[in-house]
Structures are given as structure tokens and as C-alpha cells.
Amino acid sequence: MLQIEDLQVKLGDKEILRHIDLEILPGEIHILFGPNGSGKTSLLMTIMGYPQYRVTGGKILFKGQDITHMSVNERARLGIGMSYQRPPTIHGVKTRQMIEICAKEKIDVDALAKKVNFSEFLKRDVNEGFSGGEIKRSELLQLMAQDADLFLFDEPESGVDLENISLIGNIISELLQRDFRVESKKTQKERHKERTKMGLIITHTGFILDYVTADKGQVLFDGSLTCTTNPREIFRCISRVGYEECIRCAT
């Protein structure tokens, strides 16, 4: 479980997250909406533990541990994984090597890469000259290798071409144990009970909702979390009347 209590965060001198409370239970997927600059990425980076996001109040608990001041790699080892929107290029480090770094044990990198149509890129430097869509597939591939328990997705569908969007959507769904295409002798109820993976997904376009059945939606506006309700409902509301009007329901 991820539990965020009264979290306040500053970036430099600027207050960017105000009194955030958020709880993601094992097996739950949350969608995070919000206009540009509202603090969505900052929230993910804070959960991941980026030191420039300075926690000035409140705390973050994960799997019962207070991780508020834990280093990034300790959080990764504890089971938090993030898909970045604009990850840095690391020269001389091949994508294949990066996938191996992500995996805690030996894995079949080629088989994994094939799933996201990324075999051709394994020999390239990680993120070097990748298009927006290629970055998403690379990030997804890294997360597949990492096999975290809490997945943080920063706009996983932005820049992805139509051909790959269902691919990405379905893989995310699979990572989060929501893939209904999987053959199983178990009933849906049993499978539902077995879900443990948690997800927090930022989306602008809402495309991801066509592939991933999410449990809750939240709107982050000006550093504060407002609505918490059915993500489809929020998405439709934003689409029709815009963020400002939409968050009125909460105020």
C-alpha cells in the first residue's frame, strides 16, 4: 500500500505540492489528471524520491515503511518503478544493458523486447535519438524487467503512434494484472483478489483508459488534489467543461 499523508513539497523556493493525501491499496490503479504545471510529474518524482523535490511536511509510507527520506535506489529496491516522460540519454550504456540493470535477476531480454516491438533498439544507447513513442516503449520495457509493485507512469501514451498505442496500453494493463486476455482457469473474482500491483498513471489524452481499467481518478490542480471519483467521469467532465469548472464539484 502507498499512503501519502499531508505531503508538502517545495522545488527550490516554490511550493509545488500542498497538503496531498493519497492512498493506493494493493491491486488498485489510480489515474492522475491535471492541467500542465499543476504538479503531477512533481508528485511522481517525489514518490520516487528525487532529492530536488524537498518534502517540507507530511510523509510517504510504502508497504508500511516510512520512505519519506529514503534514497531513490532504496525505493526502487522496495518496489517502486517509474516510467519517465523525458528520461536522460546515457551515452555508451546500451538499452540491453539498461534492461539487465533493471532486472534483479537474469532475464530473457530478447523475449521481453519482442513484446514491446523494441528488439531493434537493444543495441542502441539508452534514449539516444529515441522519438517520443520510442522512449515510452523503452521505459515500459525497463519497468517490465524491473517488475515493481507500484508503477508510476508519467503520460505513458503521449507521442505514441496509433500502431503502438494498443500495444502499450495492453502491456501496462498486463503489468498491473488487469489483462483480461490472459487464459486462466481462475474465475475473475479469484484473479481480482490476487491482484497486488499498484499503479499511478498521469494522462492527458485519456487514451490509456481504453486499455487499463482504473479504480479511481484524481485531479491535481495548482498543487492540490481535489476530486476523487470514477476516472471516466472525471475525464468526460474535463473534456466537456475543462479543469476549472470540473474541480468545482469538490469545492
Binding site: V72, N73, A76, I90, I101, C102
Partner: protein
């Protein structure tokens, strides 16, 4: 020969423009002779180990020939493939007249006191030649090994890739573990004939107080390719070199790559200069320098003399733990229609790259090491896999020393 000696004598005190001036009298030890071995296996384990570090394989598996010189003595010289010649230069000068056509033809004997000394007190060196159309199956390896304290090892090498041939050489310079100080003066002349391909990969593994001055030049004819790789990741007191290559035939290509790690107290001044003298010639100089407290000067100079040439220079430096990096990239376009570019950057490891790797589970130290290793891992197209493996090994090895 007399003329060469006279010119050398006149230059015997001529200082070099680059690098601190070395008092040659300090390195006055007389060489002691070492006996020739029939099998490299006869070398001591300690010697073998040092040579392995410089890329020399005593088993000679996957090597087309071997030359090993210890101080001033050739202790092993053998070709393992027809069409490939490996001959000690003193023997070659006595036996074959053609060697004169290449001896001091690219590097002037009176360049400075180091070239002069190499002429006046020659401690051998090698001639490695691929006959026309011959293609090596595996690289040829050459090792200049120094054991004698206070010796100045003066060697002259000639490398010839005849028309249509393909030759790959890995050359390691190393010193015995006990050696503290010494001077290595090496003159190398490279001839890449029409449509020939030559790669020359030099891995240096010096002692902390070693002084090194090399003087080398190359010429590449029409359609030829010359790859020159230099790797030095171990401490050295003072190292200065500025190899020059002339692209004199249409479509000739030269690429220089250097990977440098400057340890505390090390002074490295390393450059590369390529003249593009014919249309469609291509040149590339790429250097990656890391300092842990040493001072590194990374020079590069590209001179485009005719239209239709392409040249690129790249100097990247990382300062990890004190020291300095001075990148001096130069481009000289002499006429309309040249395409020349350079990029240079000196900095530190980017924090966002470290955090990115940490978010995949690496500790901060592991992340830095991974980035540094990546920084030093440059793709060198055309390099045989055995040599790629040797370079990777040198990088891995240096990694262990760079505990940050």
C-alpha cells in the same frame, strides 16, 4: 644513413614545442640484454600478467603474429600468417633495401631531441607489413616492455598495409611492476596504400614515474582506411604525443579515437592532426578524457585543403575528482566547399543520469561507475571483435581503479 645521423646530431638538443622538456641525460641506464624466447610461455608469470593488461596474449590465440621487445632486446618476433611480415627493424634495415623507402620518410628525423635520439641510439622496434591483397585473420600484437630502471627505450616502428590489404595491430606498452622511472621514445610511421585497411590500437600500461614521448605520422592513399585508437588509463608521469596523418588519395579515411584517464600527478598532452588533401576524404577525431586529479590536454586539429572533404572533431571530458581538462579543438578550412565541425564539452556526471539509474535499482556509486564506463565506451566501426574486447577490458580494469 650518414645524412640522417648528421641531421639527428644537429637536433639532439632541440626541445619540443609541446610537453615539458625532459633532460635525456637523466635516462642514461645502459640496456641489459634479454635472451630471445622460442615460446612466449617461457616468460615469467609476472611479465605475462603486465603484458596481458596491455592487450598482449601470451598464448597467441586469435593473433596473426607477435612482436615482443623487452628494454632494447627483441625477445620474440614471429608471423603466424602468410602475407604478414613481422620483422625487428634493425634486422629489416640490414636485410631489405625497401625499408629505406619508409624509414624517416613521414617523421622528420630532426623534429626534436626525441626523434634525434631514436636515430642516434636505436633500440630496435618493428616493421609490420601486410603484403598486397593479404588480409589478416586475427590482429597482430606487438609489445614494448620496459624493465630496466632509468632506461630510455628508443624504438622506431614502421607499419605498412600494402595495396588492397587488411591489417589490424594491437600494440601494448607496459612496464614491469617494480619499474619506477623510465623514458619511452617511440617513432611510428604508418603507410596505408590504395584500398588498404589498417587499424592500430595502442594500449598503454605505464608506471607512475614514466615519461613518454611518441612521434608518429601516417599517410593514407586512395580508398584507404586508417583507424588509430589510443587507450591510456593508467598513471604516467608525463605523456605527450601528437600523431599526424595525411589523407593523400581520393576517398581516403582516417579516424582517431582516444580514451584517457588522468590519475593524480599524471600529465597527458595528447592530440591528433589530420590533413585532408584530396576530394572525398573523411576524417574524425574523437577523444574521451576523464580526470581523477591529473591534468589532461586534449588537442585535435583538422585541416581541409580541398573542397568536398568532411571532418569532425569531438572532445569530451569529465572531471571527477580534481585535476583539469583542457580541450583544444582546431579546424582549419582552407577553401570553399569543406564540411568541418567540432564539439567539445568538459563537465561532471549529470545528476539526472545518476538518479535515473538509481531509480532502476543501482546505488549512487554503481550509477556513477556505469555512466563513466559508458562515457569511455565508444563504438569504433571497423574494429575487429578481439580488439573491441581488449578495449572493453581496459575500460573495465580502469573502472576498478576509479573508486570514487
Amino acid at each position: 644513413m650518414r645524412d640522417l645521423n648528421e641531421r639527428a646530431l644537429r637536433a639532439k638538443d632541440k626541445t619540443s614545442n609541446l610537453g615539458l622538456d625532459i633532460d635525456l641525460d637523466t635516462y642514461g641506464s645502459e640496456p641489459v640484454s634479454h635472451s630471445y624466447v622460442e615460446d612466449l610461455d617461457a616468460l615469467s608469470e609476472a611479465d605475462k600478467e603486465r603484458m596481458i593488461m596491455a592487450g598482449i596474449d601470451a598464448e597467441e590465440t586469435e593473433r596473426s603474429g607477435t612482436y615482443v621487445q623487452k628494454d632494447a632486446s627483441v625477445i620474440y618476433s614471429r608471423s603466424r600468417q602468410e602475407g604478414i611480415e613481422v620483422i625487428p627493424i634493425i634486422e629489416a634495415l640490414k636485410k631489405y633495401e625497401w625499408v629505406q623507402d619508409y624509414y624517416w620518410k613521414l617523421v622528420p628525423v630532426d623534429t626534436d631531441k626525441y626523434t634525434a635520439r631514436t636515430q642516434l641510439d636505436l633500440h630496435n622496434g618493428y616493421v609490420i607489413r601486410a603484403l598486397p591483397g593479404s588480409k589478416v585473420v586475427y590482429p597482430v600484437q606487438a609489445c614494448m616492455y620496459m624493465e630496466r630502471e632509468g632506461l630510455s627505450q628508443n624504438v622506431h616502428n614502421i607499419i605498412i598495409a600494402e595495396e588492397g590489404s587488411e591489417l589490424h595491430i594491437i600494440t601494448g606498452c607496459a612496464t614491469a611492476a617494480h619499474l619506477q622511472s623510465g623514458l619511452h621514445v617511440g617513432v611510428s610511421e604508418f603507410y596505408v596504400k590504395k584500398n588498404a585497411r589498417l587499424s592500430f590500437t595502442m594500449i598503454h600500461y605505464w608506471a607512475e614515474e614514466m615519461m613518454v614521448r611518441t612521434r608518429s605520422a601516417g599517410i593514407v592513399e586512395e580508398g584507404g582506411l586508417f583507424l588509430n585508437n589510443y587507450i591510456c588509463m593508467k598513471p604516467v608521469r608525463s605523456l605527450q604525443m601528437y600523431p599526424t596523418t595525411h589523407l593523400v588519395g581520393k576517398g581516403a579515411v582516417a579516424r582517431f579515437y582516444s580514451l584517457l584517464v588522468g590519475s593524480p600527478e599524471s600529465q597527458m598532452d595528447i592530440g591528433g592532426r589530420i590533413y585532408l588533401k584530396e576530394p572525398d576524404t573523411r576524417a574524425e577525431i574523437i577523444s574521451r578524457a576523464i580526470t581523477n586529479g591529473g591534468n589532461i590536454i586534449a588537442r585535435g586539429d583538422l585541416i581541409g585543403e580541398v573542397p568536398g572533404v568532411k571532418a569532425h572533431l569531438e572532445c569530451q571530458g569529465l572531471i571527477l575528482n580534481g585535476g583539469s581538462i583542457h580541450a583544444i579543438p582546431e579546424l582549419e578550412g582552407m577553401i570553399d566547399g569543406v564540411e568541418m565541425s567540432h564539439e567539445a564539452a568538459v563537465g561532471k556526471i549529470a545528476q539526472d543520469e545518476i538518479l535515473y539509474l538509481m531509480s532502476r535499482g543501482l546505488s549512487e556509486d554503481e550509477a556513477s561507475a556505469t555512466i563513466v564506463r559508458g562515457f569511455l565506451s565508444v563504438d569504433i566501426p571497423g574494429l575487429p571483435p578481439q580488439l573491441k574486447a581488449e578495449i572493453d577490458r581496459a575500460v573495465e580494469q580502469s573502472d576498478k581503479d576509479m573508486s570514487m
